[in-house]
Amino acid sequence: MVASLLMAPPRRPTRAPRAPRRAGARTTLRVPDDLADTVERYAEQHRTSTNDALIRLAYGGAKRYEYEREVEELARVRREAILQRTPVPAGVRVPTSAETTAAILAWRRGEID
């Protein structure tokens, strides 16, 4: 007997994996080709839909951004405080250049502990 297509068991249609339902505003965006390639690869590797892959990658980027934002903001506030010049008390004597240099080098010279 010659096998025919009609005798073959019906093939199950391959369905794209469904993305988990998420709450939030729907939007349409244009995905650049190079990013779309990455999204496709991610979706295939993690057996999920391309929509879900795009969201997961965006969450990854968002997490890094929030980390950097937190660090940068704290650094900005702290640096400002560190580098703020303190006012010189009124009426103090201004040390000579030699005295200033000596003060800076006193530790190296073993004059202060």
């Binding site: 980390y67 937190e70 660090v71 940068e72 704290l74 506030v77 405080a81 560190i82």
Partner: protein, 163 residues
């Protein structure tokens, strides 16, 4: 809050060191590993000083060189603000705090180690980080000193890295 690793933690992130799992945790969460520049200096110094004694330490130095290239590792620069704060801290606290713990090394070594801890704290603070350390007592003293010098500024958070 993001934490910077001090030397007591970073020096034990190698192989089966007790903080090696921390590297894996950062990798799983894709969370950056922040190393203050003075911590890098101390690690490289220790490893290369030992290469002079035994060439096997080339392997350890190579591990650390590769670790620095890890995509998650970020070295916090010792910049102007770090340097100013470190200088002020060292003038404020020229000696390591005396506590019940017996310190290792000669007095000069203890002073040098203290100066490095001061730089690590200043670098992490100015860079916008807290510190993860096993040396909680000393860094708590530095946290309090920074709070005294810079009142009203978000304080250095010192996290206990002892496991």
């Amino acid at each position: 809050m993001p934490q910077a690793w001090d030397t007591s933690v970073a020096s034990r992130a190698h192989g089966d060191g007790r903080h090696a799992d921390l590297v894996r945790q950062h990798e799983l969460a894709e969370r950056p590993i922040a190393l203050p520049a003075p911590t890098v200096q101390e690690l490289v110094y220790g490893l290369h000083a030992h290469i002079r004694l035994e060439s096997a330490f080339h392997a350890s130095a190579d591990w650390f060189a590769a670790f620095l290239e890890h995509s998650l590792v970020h070295v916090i620069p010792f910049d102007a603000a770090s340097a100013v704060l470190a200088g002020r801290l060292l003038a404020h606290l020229p000696h390591p705090p005396t506590g019940p713990r017996r310190r290792e090394g000669t007095r000069a070594r203890q002073r040098a180690a203290w100066a490095l801890d001061v730089q690590i704290a200043a670098c992490a603070f100015a860079g916008g980080y807290g510190v993860l350390t096993e040396n909680v007592d000393d860094f708590s003293v530095l946290r309090d000193a920074i709070a005294e010098l810079l009142p009203g500024v978000p304080p250095l958070v010192v996290s206990d890295g002892r496991i």
